[in-house]
């Protein structure tokens, strides 16, 4: 098979349950130009090298017009990009400002201190399953949990959360580079509408928090001044949209993929029940084995770059296939095996370098808590179908539903 058609196959919904053989195929040529234009980078060291390479940009404005056209990465004319899609120095400034109320060095204990609150939310969700013998893990636990958490962190009132799900889903669907140009254009319209609605709502909320601050992140962003000053009102909006989407569309897949993987490896599930300390390394292995973000398709070259013998020209679109790098036998022994306590597990699941996941400590804690509690409290969980139905999205990949039968809920 020529590698040229491989991206189309990766994006093809039929391959959603198991894209890994396609990645193995891809790795035979570490850097290859796809028929649609982008360069696909698939081996561990090449991906990692580019994630640390200052000649790579995350800002779509650096794409040549042809590359932008071919990969459908147009700018939203209404809102400037968030720091996910910006380069230094703007990226660094905004990330520092966003980090101030969220993590070190200014607020190092923020995530740690949420442990009790997070545990309470999980317990509440699992308690709610009493009396049921069939559940959908996604709708019942994996989705509501991180969503509730990110809304609480930001300070979104609980009664508004449902609106959020709709907006977030629409925006996340827009992250998927599938479809004909017309389909993509139509989808982009919906995405832009959803972003506008979400932005309007957040603008109102931020204004409210500015006038009467509470103990949440929006209040901190709106009122606190650090060495970098403050975000502009528009920056506050794009940043909170970013945090909301990131908190919505990724952790859900980590928890769901986690339960699915455990049910496929009953010995490991049993081990986690008796050995909760396994949760730490196990979640790292999940991030390697079934990463919720499969590829990073929004990089651009600022200069000609030679990678593994291939020269990528300036202004080209580059897709960093992190899920493929995570299965690279040159880096991981026995890469297609799920080894819950794998040593030296420097996976690419949270990216690497300057854009490496901002929410990683939170996401780790959420997944560790959820999985430990699920295996402890669900009695005799069984998969109803394997593979389960997947979401359309090939980038933020995960099951849409995970129907399980259970014997009951333990205390």
């Amino acid at each position: 098979m020529t590698s040229v058609a491989l991206l189309r196959q990766v994006l093809d919904y039929a391959n959603r349950p198991d894209p890994y053989p396609l990645y193995a195929e891809l790795r035979r040529t570490p850097v290859v130009r796809d028929e649609a234009g982008p360069y696909l980078v698939s081996t561990y060291w090449a991906v990692k090298g580019l994630l640390h390479d200052p000649r790579i940009s995350s800002d779509a404005r650096n794409l040549t017009p042809e590359a932008a056209e071919a990969t459908g990465q147009e700018q939203d004319p209404n809102l400037p990009p968030s720091f996910l899609r910006l380069d230094p120095p703007e990226h660094d400034r905004l990330r520092r400002l966003a980090m101030r109320p969220f993590g070190p060095p200014h607020t190092p204990r923020r995530v740690f201190e949420m442990h009790g609150e997070l545990a309470g939310i999980v317990t509440g969700l699992i308690d709610g399953l009493r009396g049921r013998d069939a559940i959908d893990l996604v709708d019942d636990v994996s989705y509501p949990f991180p969503v509730t958490v990110i809304c609480r962190i930001l300070g979104v009132p609980r009664e508004d959360e449902t609106h959020f799900h709709e907006w977030a889903d629409t925006i996340a669907a827009g992250l998927d580079p599938v479809g004909t140009p017309e389909e993509r254009a139509a989808k982009m319209q919906d995405v832009q509408q959803a972003r506008r609605d979400l932005a309007m709502y957040l603008a109102g909320l931020i204004e409210e928090r500015r006038r009467s601050p509470r103990d949440d992140m929006l209040s901190a962003l709106a009122t606190e001044h650090g060495p970098d000053g403050q975000m502009s009102p528009v920056e506050m909006i794009t940043t909170s949209v970013l945090l909301l989407i990131a908190g919505h569309e990724t952790t859900v897949n980590l928890i769901t993929n986690g339960m699915l993987t455990l049910l496929r490896h009953p010995d490991v599930l049993q081990r986690l029940r008796t050995e909760p300390a396994l949760a730490g390394p196990l979640v790292e292995e999940l991030l390697r084995f079934e990463p919720p973000v499969q590829m990073l398709p929004q990089r651009t070259t600022l200069a000609e770059i030679e990678v593994a013998g291939t020269v990528i020209p300036k202004g080209a679109a580059v897709y960093l296939m992190v899920a493929s790098g995570n299965r690279d036998p040159q880096r991981f022994t026995d890469p297609d095996r799920f080894v819950p306590d794998r040593p030296d597990n420097q996976h690419l699941g949270f990216g690497h370098g300057l854009h490496s996941c901002f929410g990683a400590p939170l996401a780790r804690l959420e997944a560790q808590l959820a999985l430990t509690e699920l295996v402890r409290r669900l009695d005799a969980p069984q998969l109803v179908e394997d593979p389960p139905p997947y979401r359309q999205n090939a980038v933020l990949r995960g099951p849409r539903h995970l129907p399980l039968t259970i014997g009951g809920i333990r205390d």
């Binding site: 200052p54 000649r55 230094p88 660094d92 600022l302 000609e304 770059i305």
Partner: protein, 464 residues
């Protein structure tokens, strides 16, 4: 006995002596055991303390965040060694394979590892150096005393020498709100290590934090009161400063005096060794039973024209100790070279400074990312058209990339565009290092020429 047989017996029941029981010595001892060395292992250290870590001494310890006696090095694995702490080695007999100790004991060895490191260069006027309130900072005991004085709230501290250690001390003073004057003979802080362009940024940083920074001056004398306490420092520009604490931070001297007549290639610049950590003797012949690691070593590096490098870098001490340990118990075909990419970090005035490569070798510098004025940048150093080093201020994430550039001898100035390139990053400028023959304070990497020995061997041709 065959050589292989010898090695087997040596690994089982040989005698290894390690002189210098600090970072390199401890890590080497642990590595020897990890490599399966089962014989007798003796660690000799002149300090009475168990091995401890030095970098915190000028950082967390001076801030009172960590007590000075709480920086013990974590033990990676049991070393099952005989510890001779508090006893200095005073001599080495290469032929008899014997180390003499200050208390008169002798230790016989089959293989010797020397990790005696460096010590702070003292204030040259001995009487002034003995004044109460005059300190250096190298050891735990130094740190205990200095911290004690800083906590007592001195009226003003004078730091002599604005290298990394001096600058970190000044930073700690400011964080404790203690008034501090820094005197530096060079044109700016850190010039010896990072050059004048970056030195200017360090100067700005110091002044912005309220340091009374005086560059281009020398301290000509320290004056005490009748009780022998330091009171005033005099400068070469005729000015004077009243101070009750003086920290002398004029770099380091190698601890090699005890080897003076041993026949080993040891001198003020360190002990020369090959890439496999084997010491050279004065004739330039490599020994096979004496190994060297850490700050006291100088070894040739292929990336830097095979010049001998002396590195006062924590990471180098660990890596070289591990290579030395491996090579001490391995057959020659299995030995490994110590090809460490020099790298260093420092924390001062709220900035995380990191460097890779050998900045003092450079003739040019270019700010490839960020901006000097914002005190957040990445600068690449060039030597004869190649990238030779890089420094970051609060941008450590980019250092890996530049390390690869150094390894690949990439061309300088870099032709490519990067993110965050500013107008100042379009042209290289002179790196502006001071004349190395006039070191103002210790640069952390010193290029020490091509010759394995410090002293000339007298060359007497044999008559035919």
């Amino acid at each position: 006995m065959t050589i292989d047989g010898y090695l087997e017996a040596f690994r089982r029941e040989g005698r290894i002596v390690v002189v210098g029981a600090s970072l390199a010595g401890l890590r080497a001892a642990e590595a020897l055991r990890a490599e399966g060395f089962a014989g007798t292992l003796t660690l000799v250290g002149d300090e009475p303390h168990e091995p401890y870590d030095r970098p915190p001494l000028s950082k967390q310890v001076l801030l009172g965040k960590v007590p000075a006696d709480h920086t013990r090095l974590p033990r990676v694995r049991p070393v099952d060694a005989q510890w001779r702490l508090g006893s200095a080695a005073t001599g080495l007999d290469l032929a008899a394979k014997r180390v003499r100790l200050a208390d008169g004991d002798v230790l016989d060895y089959d293989r010797l590892l020397i990790t005696t490191g460096v010590r702070a260069r003292p204030w040259p006027q001995e009487l002034e150096a003995e004044l109460d309130g005059v300190f250096v900072l190298r050891t735990q005991d130094d740190a205990v005393q200095l911290h004690h004085r800083l906590a007592a709230g001195p009226r003003r501290v004078l730091v002599i020498g604005a290298g990394f250690t001096g600058s970190e001390i000044a930073s700690a003073c400011r964080e404790r709100d203690v008034p501090v004057t820094v005197a530096e003979r060079g044109a700016a802080p850190l010039v010896g290590a990072l050059g004048g362009v970056v030195g200017e940024v360090a100067a700005e940083l110091q002044r912005a934090h309220g340091v009374d920074l005086r560059c281009g001056v020398q301290v000509t004398g320290l004056e005490g009161d009748s009780a022998g306490r330091v009171r005033t420092a005099h400068f070469s520009d005729g000015t004077a400063v009243a101070c009750d604490v003086v920290v002398v931070a004029l770099g380091a001297t190698r601890n090699t005096e005890w080897l003076a007549d041993s026949g080993l290639g040891a001198g003020p610049r360190g002990i020369a060794c090959d890439a496999g950590c084997r010491a050279f003797d004065v004739r330039g012949i490599v020994t096979d039973d004496v190994f060297v690691a850490g700050d006291v070593a100088r070894s040739p590096h292929p990336l830097f024209g095979y010049q001998f490098l002396s590195l006062e870098h924590w990471g180098n001490a660990v890596a070289q100790a591990e290579v030395a340990a491996h090579n001490m118990v391995s057959a020659s075909a299995e030995r490994r070279p110590h090809l460490w990419m020099p790298s260093f970090w420092s924390a001062q005035f709220g900035v995380n400074i990191k460097s890779v490569g050998v900045p003092p070798m450079a003739d040019q510098i270019m700010v490839t990312q960020g901006s000097l004025a914002e005190q957040r940048f990445t600068a690449a150093y060039g030597f004869q058209g190649r990238v030779i080093a890089a420094v970051t201020f609060d941008q450590a994430k980019w250092l890996d990339f530049y390390e690869r550039q150094i390894e690949r001898a990439a061309s300088f100035p870099p032709e490519f565009t990067t993110v965050d390139r500013r107008p100042e990053g379009r042209q290289p400028v002179a790196a502006d290092f001071p004349d190395p023959s006039q070191p103002s304070h210790g640069p952390t990497v010193t290029l020490s020429g091509y010759s394995p020995t410090d002293r000339r061997v007298s060359f007497t041709p044999r008559r035919a």
